[in-house]
Amino acid sequence: MNGLRPSGPARAGQYLALLGYLAFLAFPFLWLISTAFKPARELASLHPTWLPDDPTLGNFRQAFAEQPLLRAAGNSLIAALGAALIAVAIATPMAYVMARHRGRLSAAATGWVVISQAFPFVLVIIPLFLVLKNLHLLNTLSGLVMVYVVWSLPFALWMLTGYVRAVPAELEEAAAVDGAGRLRTLVSVTAPLLAPGIVATALFAFITAWNEFFFALVLLKTPEKQTLPVVLTRFLGAEGVADLGPLAAAAFLATLPSLVVFAVIQKRITGGMLSGAVKS
């Protein structure tokens, strides 16, 4: 930005605007945290304050007592881990082919990746519901994992294709000239270079599944099977105002895994989105 430094007032305006953005982005989250630590008495007050006068962990205790949060978190963990691992396991080879071979197959796969972004889920969910019902996988976590895998594939393929393209094909060709077989080249040359991208993609698939609500709402009926987002909405029942504290506490806890994982992979994800985008 040398030579383009704005004048004093313009700079001040920029900082003011930045401050506005910071406030807009932060305030709902700060309010959530504040509510989570407020005792019931303060929540019932007609003049709520920004900070709890008398911070408490009571809401967290009550949240765990009211709803089976641990079981729901366990279900979410199984669904998200299963989806993430299976998705990268099957997407990585396919992304490799899409990146290295330009044929009708790659074109069709890229087309599917793009079109699948435009599906309204409602057109897919009814058939999925019927298919899983016939397979006796309705209301099971395995059924949900299958749906999550396919649902995270477009993004995984998009990201991984970009990462594969970033590995120079010349490296593989050099290995082939040196007499390394196809599999050997993939395992000892390509895979190590691809590993960070694969990990980032898996973590992203994990967060997407951890956060997902619609499929879980439709496909899981019994409370024992339900995932965290579905259980969270049960706090919203008819109970009303009295439950604000536990609701905020549970919502805050449910967010933490996503925030931590996302903070770790954010740079790599944005990089991957672009490398996928620039070439296609």
């Binding site: 030579g3 309010w31 044929g103 057109l123 009814i126 058939p127 604000l244 449910a254 925030l259 989105m273």
Partner: protein
């Protein structure tokens, strides 16, 4: 399946494995082996259900019925044509999608331009931008319900502090419900838009900027002549995606208002969900899905045509 194996075999003969490969390489045995693990789930759980869904739209399929499902031709679509509730929902869906997508772009562009400057604390904005992006949609909805809460919410307290009256029940007011959920939609989607636009900005040629500044071009002219042409493809792509995602969104509004009050925030997805899983009208709900896809496709096609024309201008 037979055609797949046949292609694989002939491809295998054509693309010998011994020579150092040139790009583009023909698809060979290995490629099919690598593709199948992903291809089968895609066909079974994505392409298949999609076609099945379109077919359902032409049947009278209902949940939990013993009588077998019959083809009813275009009956569902004829009914849909006269379903004023659905078209009202569709209108709300478009209002919502435009009302969220446009501010998302404008605010996202503003923030991206700021973050592209050498400002202090921009790391903080980058860190905060993660929150809406990573947060489960259900939690976003819950969080804003706490903000909008008529008694214990911070919004009404601020309104009262500023002496602007007693505040109101934002999410259940007929006039305020849609604007209130739209604001949440903007908040939730702005970071992705910002990050995409910021990446686009960082690809614009810095030398051109400096040359234009030396020639005495002001900030606005530099933006119009240097930044915008380079940013335009990214801007069009992210806006198109945002529009589709917003039109198809469900969880946020489901948690915030459940479609109320009086259907004022009943997005088409919520409408179709209720039709399918509350009333069990699978065929009719599938027809709604088809109409949604058709409308989105037309809008997208218009957008792409505009994009191609924009490309010719440059």
């Amino acid at each position: 399946m037979t055609s797949v194996t046949a292609t694989a075999r002939s491809g295998g003969k054509a693309g010998g494995t011994g020579r150092p490969a040139h790009r583009p390489r023909p698809v060979d045995h290995g490629a099919w082996f690598l593709v199948l693990p992903a291809l089968i789930p895609i066909l079974v759980l994505s392409v298949g259900p999609l076609l099945y869904g379109v077919a359902l739209a032409f049947t009278d399929a209902q949940s939990g019925r013993t009588r077998s499902t019959q083809w009813v031709g275009t009956l569902n679509f004829q009914d849909l044509l006269h379903d004023t509730l659905f078209w009202e929902s569709f209108r709300i869906g478009l209002l919502w999608a435009v009302g969220v997508t446009v501010p998302q772009f404008v605010l996202g562009l503003g923030l991206a331009l700021l973050l592209n400057q050498n400002l202090r604390f921009r790391w903080l904005a980058r860190a905060l931008a993660i929150i809406p992006w990573a947060m489960p949609e259900v939690v976003v909805g819950i969080m804003w319900r706490l903000v909008y809460n008529p008694d214990a919410g911070i919004l009404n307290e601020t309104v009262r502090d500023l002496g602007l009256g007693d505040g109101r029940d934002w999410l259940t007011g007929l006039a305020t419900a849609l604007p209130a959920v739209t604001a949440v939609g903007i908040w939730a989607g702005m970071p992705q838009t910002t990050v995409a636009l910021l990446a686009g900005l960082q690809n614009t040629p810095q030398e051109l900027h400096e040359a234009a500044a030396l020639d005495g071009a002001g900030a606005w002219r530099r933006f119009r002549t240097v930044t915008w042409p380079a940013l335009k493809p990214v801007a069009l792509a992210i806006t198109a995606l945002n529009f589709i995602w917003n039109f198809n969104s469900f969880a946020l509004v489901y948690v915030l208002t459940g479609g109320g009050p009086g259907g004022r925030t009943r997005l088409p997805m919520l409408f179709a969900y209720e039709e399918a899983f509350r009333y069990g009208q699978f065929g009719y709900a599938a027809a709604m899905g088809c109409v949604m896809v058709a409308v989105i496709s037309v809008l997208l096609a218009l957008h792409l045509v505009g994009r191609l024309k924009g490309g010719e201008d440059r």
